[in-house]
């Protein structure tokens, strides 16, 4: 009797083992090929001002300049994984005056790495005039972007009819950044 039990037990165990041994081919090394390509969009700068804002102390303001220090673009994750970026601008102008916005990208030592200008065309009849600009960063310009630590914005009035406190209309700017990332196994 005991022999039979032993025989059966071994049979069951052998059966289990033989079933266990069957696996189809699996390749965990494939994880090295991991590559994901999310596209992130984020708001950048914006403003919305009436014409009268450009009339200060009884004089027309010719240009306004401001800057921000930003560490985001030189963040290691961005440097390693960003393959392309677009800055998308949309200006809506109903003032009888053209504007231009210059954007200067500077590095730590205040060296100019890249600059671009977008125009907001004037509106002769008070209706909204929409101007678009897309600044693409790829290759050398992308390198410039990822070395950027300071951005200087300069809003200038294009010569034309003078603005005073009774001037009508508004100037609006919307913008966003589109970041094309490619994240692979090494950076996770």
């Amino acid at each position: 009797m005991q022999k039979q039990i032993i025989k059966y037990s071994f049979l069951v165990i052998a059966l289990c083992l033989s079933l266990f041994s069957c696996t189809k081919e699996i390749d965990f090394e494939q994880a090295d090929d991991l590559e994901i390509s999310p596209v992130i969009e984020t708001s950048l700068i914006f403003f919305d001002e009436p014409a009268s804002s450009f009339w200060v102390n009884n004089t027309e303001v010719i240009s306004i300049k401001d800057s921000i220090k930003i560490g985001f673009f030189s963040n290691k994750f961005i440097v390693d994984n960003l393959i392309k970026a677009d800055f998308v601008f949309e200006a809506t102008n109903s003032i009888n005056k053209g504007f231009q916005v210059s954007v200067d990208l500077l590095n730590d030592s205040e060296q100019l790495l890249h600059t671009f200008t977008l125009l907001a065309s004037l509106s002769t009849d008070g209706s909204d005039v929409i101007s678009n600009h897309v600044e693409e960063f790829e290759g050398d310009t992308l390198i410039a972007l990822t070395n950027t630590s300071k951005i200087v914005f300069t809003l200038s009035l294009i010569p034309g009819e003078t603005i005073n406190e009774t001037s009508l209309g508004r100037i609006k700017l919307k913008s966003k950044a589109v970041f094309y990332l490619n994240i692979d196994d090494d950076s996770i």
């Binding site: 289990c16 079933l19 991991l34 999310p38 969009e41 708001s43 914006f46 001002e49 970041f179 994240i183």
Partner: protein, 471 residues
């Protein structure tokens, strides 16, 4: 550190398969079946488990995709397979692992000398339980980004993880009131070795079209992770020996303590039909020592930087404006660390079954009437249910049990559960002299390609049993 890792590999990965022990439940030839129903039938006079070998249980399970779906070496691009898996899974899909190792156990019957109708059993076992739900929204955000997901909320409740390692001291009492009714209770003291959980996250991140700018990014977050027993290990610079010593102490009631109980009954409806049921691990653990919790809570709406005319009049520059935004982000995403005590509830398990015995055992030597007729076969239906962080899981099992010889019993099960609708399990228990050995595993149909299995589970153990002299 190596020893620390080894400790966990040995403890948690020995053999692992679900917490549903459909093969062991009701298998009264095996003393450990009493852990699944303290009011179960008892077939031995006394027993002791071979230390560290009396009950080894492991279970891993995954719903949705399998390892094979993602890692098959079939020429399809890995990223395509990964994407397919992500898209096919939902936020209620989960991966879970459960492991138990009995350190010692024993039991004996007592009562008046002619009817020993009471039974005491006791022991110490270690258990590891892990569950993580698939964070679908997070995976989509990582795969696609937000560009094509404007107005799609990325919900924080998708992050749902719980892990615990505990040891359990238990003492159970079983009483056969009469031929038709047996009940039992088991008291448990839990000692938590490690606990990590983040199961109550709320809030979301969403990108919407904005008023002033293209987009408004809305962060509304309420995330919390609670840990106990972890902080001292990661801080510990006193070396791996101290860590192992510390963990061993926690196994022996030195961790965060809790209390719980199991109850169960068996009701013999007539000679052939019986009903039984049990409720296990109704209990809690109070985490007061070595607690470290992390919380991220806040609301923030970002729509961009107003660089040229920031708050005209108060002299604020774009630099100030941007610094304020940066500070707000840092404040939102820097977790607050607290040491607030907390309580966790053990996952409660319900087992119940209806059984039908048939095929009376023939006695060669006499045709005498036995008090307890014993049947060679039984069939039945078992129901298992268990609480989990998001929603309970359940499994329904049909089984066939057969005594092949006096000393060999086998059981086959067919189970439908969250993992699959065709889970076949096999188990056997054999006695060689006083030594009892049992082994059981399920999902046999998937063993031909184990990586494609949604769950696998294995239990085995050795006991020394002194049986009632009934055969």
């Amino acid at each position: 550190m190596k020893k620390f890792i080894l400790f966990f590999i040995v403890i948690s990965c020995c053999f692992s398969f679900s917490q549903n022990k459909q093969l062991l439940y009701g298998f009264s030839d095996i003393p450990q079946s009493l852990l699944l129903n303290p009011g179960g039938k008892i077939k031995n006079d006394w027993y002791f488990g071979i230390p560290l070998l009396s009950h080894i249980h492991a279970n891993v399970g995954i719903t949705g995709s399998t390892i094979y779906d993602i890692f098959a070496s079939n020429g399809i691009d890995f990223n395509t397979k990964l994407q397919n898996a992500v898209y096919s899974m939902g936020s209620n899909d989960f991966f879970s692992a459960n492991q138990q190792l009995e350190i010692f156990s024993g039991g004996f019957s007592f009562g008046s000398s002619y009817v020993k109708n009471k039974y005491l059993s006791f022991g110490l076992y270690q258990e590891f339980d892990f569950i993580t739900y698939f964070p679908k929204d997070l995976a989509i955000l990582a795969l696609e980004g937000n560009q094509n997901n404007i107005y799609r909320p990325f919900r924080a409740n998708n992050i749902n993880v719980a892990a615990e390692a505990i040891s359990v001291f238990h003492l159970g009492y079983n009483k056969k009131v009469n031929d038709n009714f047996t009940f039992g209770v088991r008291g448990k003291i839990y000692s938590s070795i490690l606990n990590v959980n983040s199961t109550n996250n709320k809030g979301r991140f969403i990108t919407e079209r904005g008023q002033n700018n293209f987009y408004e990014h809305i962060f509304n977050l309420d995330l919390e992770a609670r840990t106990s027993g972890v902080a001292s290990l990661t801080d510990d610079e006193s070396g791996s020996n101290a860590v192992v010593k510390d963990l061993t102490k926690r196994v022996l009631l030195g961790g965060n303590l809790g209390l719980g109980f199991d109850i169960g009954i068996t009701h013999q409806l007539n000679e052939q039909w019986s009903l039984d049921a049990s409720l296990l691990d109704v209990g809690f653990i109070r985490h007061s020592k070595d607690v470290e919790n992390y919380k991220i809570e806040g609301d923030y709406v970002y729509e961009g930087i107003d660089p040229i005319f920031p708050d005209t009049g108060n002299g604020q520059t774009a630099e100030d404006y941007w610094n304020e935004i940066e500070d707000d982000f840092v404040e939102l995403f820097t977790p607050d660390t607290t040491t607030s005590k907390y309580t966790t509830w053990r996952p409660i398990k319900l087992n119940t079954s209806i059984n039908y015995g048939f095929g009376e055992k023939q006695y060669e030597d006499c045709n005498c009437l036995k008090d307890n007729k014993s049947y060679l076969n039984s069939v039945g239906l078992q129901l298992f249910a268990m609480t989990r962080p998001k929603q309970p899981i359940a499994a329904l099992t049909a089984y066939y049990y057969r005594r092949l010889f006096n000393n060999l019993q086998v059981k086959a099960t067919y189970t439908i559960d969250s993992y699959s609708a065709y889970n076949i399990g096999l188990g056997m228990s054999t006695n060689l002299g006083g030594l009892n050995f049992y082994v059981m595993a399920d999902n046999f149909l998937e063993f031909k390609n184990i990586y494609n299995a949604q769950s696998v589970s294995l239990q085995l153990g050795f006991n020394y049993i002194f049986n009632k002299n009934e055969d």
